[in-house]
């Protein structure tokens, strides 16, 4: 089938009248040729006219063809190739296997429809299978092997991830760059409204992609209850302290009427508490369980609402509470410094409510102390350490121990920071406040820091020890740019360095409220309890080991998923730095530094909102493609064909005709000159 991309240029065909006029209608003008006398000549008109017409018809045909070809070339002709051939339009089958597809028979319906489409495809047509879950998984390349495609599609299982049409759009845009022609994309999904990204443009496909939606949630949206969020401590030392020993859960109803629901707290599979709560229509209600009585060690807890809805998988929220005795913190300080243990201990005690116990030791008395018995170690201006202790400390850090170092006056005087290393340092007397603070760093974390730089602006620093910043992450700087707080990874452990002291001589930080918050968060961060228990969302990551340099020298990491299987192979356990939590439930993890933890993993609660996107939105999406309407899209894509431009060939032909016309006409002109 043939067409023109610029058919308005065909108006130029009117120019074909020019050669017709010149050759057939216009009266031939012959220049008379003088002779001395006509005495010996005779008239020969009939033969002459006949000869003229015969000779110029070829020139006329060439000129006619030249004009015709030029006009055609400008009209940009193309031919359409049928998609029935092997190089035709590929089929892209996207099967949504996100968490919401667990509702009812959605996933089974979607898979069945996708398999039916695959079975109906022509044998020569290429197809590609993609799963849309927590991440977009391209399961096959564009191939024609129907059996391989069917196996790939059949092997897709419903997951617990959050499917985003924005991610799908991004993936398809990348895939379409490798495919020159148009693509037929069939999406089998429940068309969740919550799966649409905040920016519609993220979900828009390229112009070459024709989207067909297969909505498997054809019925009206069913009411769904879910435990939207749970606020519970990851670590618990005192079950009597109700300020921490409590569980707050938010129960949400979507598409629901006002109902009284029963919410229960289960610990290690046993229901320990039950509450009734009235959930408003399409609303939320908060339930609190306090105190939280759990035993020592990791406790697998869940808050469950009696849903009785189409999506029971989101009726429970999992989390892990670790009960433990107060953790000991080794505080090694300069013998002449009595202030820093006082300030640090007071701040930690006030913030952690007894979760940590500070054991202060003068540096010269630390010889026999094993730091491995402590949650973490603080070196407060301890410039000179006993060699045995220093060696123990290095091994401790390499195997995953964490240390906080404060560089005070003594450190500056000696010119060397223990563990940290680097060149000889020269302390500086300054008067500066804190200029830059990285509030995303766990020890400094603040969700909404105030105008006073999160409270840090008030602190004044008078004595600073410039330290080596190589291989270190600077998370806070003074107003003059001098690094104040740095973290460096050493083996499996972390060293946090404060370039000033913890007493109130080199700075007045201990006198400010931000000091308490800093000590609390830094302690929790260094103790590592944050990652050992608690709750996470599906498709989030846990860090199995700290650094790549120590791979192979440390113990293998190990992960046991909610089904009791070990998803990491032995080699992966020795090398993997992170692990992606793909299932909802309880994960048991043994980290490379030897610590063990348990984490409750929950599906993204955006998946619980089963409300489909509106028909208008679906229509806009399928007809979008760069903002064009459906008619324009149809024009661009054609129906099932691929376009092949012909103007280049037409222009080449026109060039050849032009050369022939030039040669012929110059020959005629040459004859005329000779005759005259």
């Amino acid at each position: 089938m043939m067409g023109f991309l610029a058919p308005w240029f065909l108006a130029g065909l009117a120019g074909l009248g020019i050669p017709v006029f010149v050759h057939l209608l216009r009266k031939h003008i012959t220049v008379p040729r003088p002779v001395s006398s006509l005495m010996f000549f005779e008239r020969g008109t009939q033969s002459s006219t006949k000869h003229h017409r015969l000779r110029y018809l070829l020139l006329f045909a060439l000129r006619f063809a030249l004009l015709l070809l030029v006009v055609l070339a400008f009209a940009n002709p193309f031919v359409r190739r049928s998609a029935a051939n092997a190089n035709g339009r590929p089929l892209m089958i996207v099967l949504d296997n996100s968490f919401s597809m667990r509702a009812g028979t959605r996933f089974a319906d979607a898979k069945r429809e996708a398999l039916a489409l695959l079975a109906a495809k022509p044998h020569s047509q290429r197809a590609q299978v993609i799963a849309l879950g927590g991440q977009v998984q391209v399961l096959t390349q564009p191939i024609t092997d129907a059996e391989q495609l069917r196996v790939a599609l059949d092997g897709v299982q419903v997951g617990d991830g959050y499917g985003s049409y924005g991610e799908l759009g991004k993936a398809v845009r990348a895939l379409s760059e490798t495919e020159a022609g148009p693509i037929d994309l069939h999406l089998f999904s429940d068309m969740q409204r919550s799966a649409m990204p905040a920016s519609f443009a993220d979900a828009v496909f390229p112009q070459t992609v024709e989207l067909t939606l297969h909505n498997v949630a054809k019925t009206a949206p069913s009411p769904n209850w879910t435990v939207e969020s749970v606020n519970a401590p990851a670590d618990l030392t005192d079950t009597k302290d109700t300020s921490k020993s409590r569980v707050q859960a938010v129960v949400a109803g979507m598409g629901t009427d006002e109902t009284v629901k029963t919410v229960s707290l289960m610990v290690n599979g046993k229901e320990v508490a039950k509450r009734s709560v009235k959930v408003p229509a399409n609303g939320r209600a908060t339930v609190e369980f306090a105190p939280l009585n759990v035993g020592y060690g990791f406790n697998r807890c869940e808050v469950r609402v009696n849903g009785g809805d189409v999506l029971p998988a989101d009726d429970a929220s999992f989390f892990v509470v670790r009960r433990l005795d107060p953790q000991h913190v080794l505080f090694v300080h300069n013998a002449r410094d009595e202030r820093s243990p006082l300030y640090f201990g007071a701040a930690l005690n006030a913030a952690s409510h007894g979760a940590f116990v500070v054991q202060a030791v003068a540096a010269d008395q630390a010889t026999d102390i094993d730091p491995k018995k402590f949650a973490f170690t603080v070196l407060s201006d301890a410039a000179t350490l006993p060699s045995i202790f220093e060696h123990s400390l290095e091994q401790y850090v390499a195997s995953g121990g964490d240390v906080l170092i404060a560089a005070g006056v003594e450190t500056g005087r000696r010119g060397e920071v223990p563990l940290w290393g680097g060149e000889h340092v020269k302390p500086r007397n300054v008067t500066a406040s804190v200029g830059q603070v990285d509030f995303t760093y766990p020890a400094l974390e603040q969700t909404e820091p105030g105008r006073d730089n999160g409270g840090w602006a008030a602190a004044r620093f008078f004595y600073i020890v410039p330290v080596d910043t190589s291989l270190a992450r600077v998370v806070a700087r003074l107003s003059d740019g001098t690094p104040l707080l740095l973290e460096r990874q050493m083996g499996e452990g972390r060293v946090l360095l404060l370039a000033s002291g913890l007493e109130n001589l080199t700075n007045d930080l201990p006198l400010h409220p931000v000091f308490v918050a800093f000590v609390d968060k830094a302690s929790r961060y260094l103790a590592g309890g944050e990652e050992l228990s608690g709750a996470k969302t599906v498709d989030s990551f846990v860090q199995l080991r700290s650094s790549a340099e120590t791979q192979g020298r440390t113990a293998s990491a190990e992960v046991v998923d909610p089904d009791g299987r070990r998803p990491l192979s032995l080699s992966e356990g020795r090398t993997a730095r992170t692990f992606r939590l793909t299932r909802a439930g309880f994960y048991q993890i043994r980290f490379a530094n030897g610590r063990s933890g348990e984490i409750g993993v929950n599906a993204d609660r955006r998946e619980s909102d089963l409300t489909p996107m509106s028909a208008e939105m679906q229509g806009l999406w399928t007809g979008s493609h760069g903002g064009q309407n459906a008619a324009e899209k149809k024009q661009v894509l054609g129906t099932n064909d691929r376009r092949m431009g012909l103007w280049w060939y037409v222009m080449l032909l026109a060039l050849a005709v032009a050369v022939a016309e030039t040669a012929l006409s110059s020959r005629y002109l040459g004859v005329q000159r000779e005759e005259v």
Binding site: R33, S36, M39
Partner: protein
């Protein structure tokens, strides 16, 4: 030297007397190398001195050796009269190449005049005609005659039609002394009419020569396509086709030439066909040949 006699080369020379001088000098120097042909100043015989003879012609070398006084006699010493009738009708302006027929005719006439007046010391005159006599220079040997003849030739631009009868009648009325009469024309007239007009010249004892000047394109026309032809004299137009020109025309022209040549010679006149790409020395040879016959 042959190159200097080429009409195409002569056409680039603007001065008619220079053309004539070039032609004649070139021709003469060519004759000096020729073993078999003489020249008018060539020695013929001795005769005894008689009273009243011009002492300039005495051969003093012979007198010194023999003490006898003899005069040297030369050929052509007898003065003759050259009259040229030049056709200046419109048909003469045709030319497919340089020079046109009219120019070629003027070069021809000029060369003859130069040779006659300067070399032979003959009386020379000219009649330029088309359908009537347009210019007439009376034959003379006077000083400046050559310049007058050349001036007459310069004025002889072609126009009007050809009519042989009137100028020839006029010439006959002016003719008082026998001599050589040369008619230069393209002779687009029937041979009978031409002979009828020219023949009376012969009756007065003149040596009559017809130089028939034609363009090569007229002799061997090349036509690749049909064309409209216009007669330079009458303005009439006809459309002709190459097939005719390449066959019938040539035959008819050749027949015309043959008839003309035959009839002219039959009445005791000379005929010479000249193409405008032909060197002029043949013409001069013809003239000298006529003078040598002593007529």
């Amino acid at each position: 030297m042959q190159r200097l006699l080429d009409p195409a080369v002569l056409a680039s020379i603007s001065s008619l007397d220079l053309i004539a001088k070039t032609v004649v000098d070139g021709f003469v120097s060519g004759l000096h190398r020729s073993p078999d042909f003489g020249f008018s100043q060539e020695f013929a015989e001795y005769r005894p001195y008689t009273q009243g003879d011009d002492l300039r012609h005495v051969d003093w070398n012979l007198f010194a050796r023999t003490e006898r006084c003899y005069l040297k006699r030369y050929e052509g010493e007898t003065n003759s009269q050259l009259m040229i009738l030049l056709d200046a009708s419109n048909s003469m302006q045709f030319g497919s190449r340089q020079p046109a027929k009219a120019d070629y005719a003027r070069y021809l006439a000029a060369s003859l005049f130069y040779m006659a007046v300067r070399n032979q010391r003959d009386a020379a005159g000219v009649i330029v005609f088309d359908d009537e006599v347009r210019d007439y220079v009376k034959p003379s040997t006077r000083q400046g005659q050559l310049a007058r003849l050349f001036a007459s030739l310069e004025r002889a631009e072609p126009h009007a039609r050809t009519d042989f009868a009137k100028p020839l009648t006029h010439f006959q009325s002016l003719l008082h002394r026998r001599g050589i009469v040369i008619v230069i024309s393209d002779f687009y007239e029937t041979p009978e009419a031409i002979v009828r007009a020219v023949e009376p010249l012969r009756f007065h004892g003149n040596d009559v020569v017809l130089f028939h000047v034609l363009d090569p394109q007229e002799l061997r026309p090349q036509m690749k396509g049909p064309a409209v032809l216009v007669d330079l004299e009458s303005g009439e137009k006809i459309e002709v086709v190459p097939e005719y020109v390449n066959s019938t025309y040539r035959e008819r022209l050749q027949e015309h030439i043959d008839q003309l040549s035959m009839r002219v010679r039959a009445v005791g006149m000379e005929y010479q066909l000249l193409a405008t790409d032909q060197p002029l020395d043949a013409v001069l040879r013809e003239y000298l040949s006529l003078r040598r016959t002593g007529r």
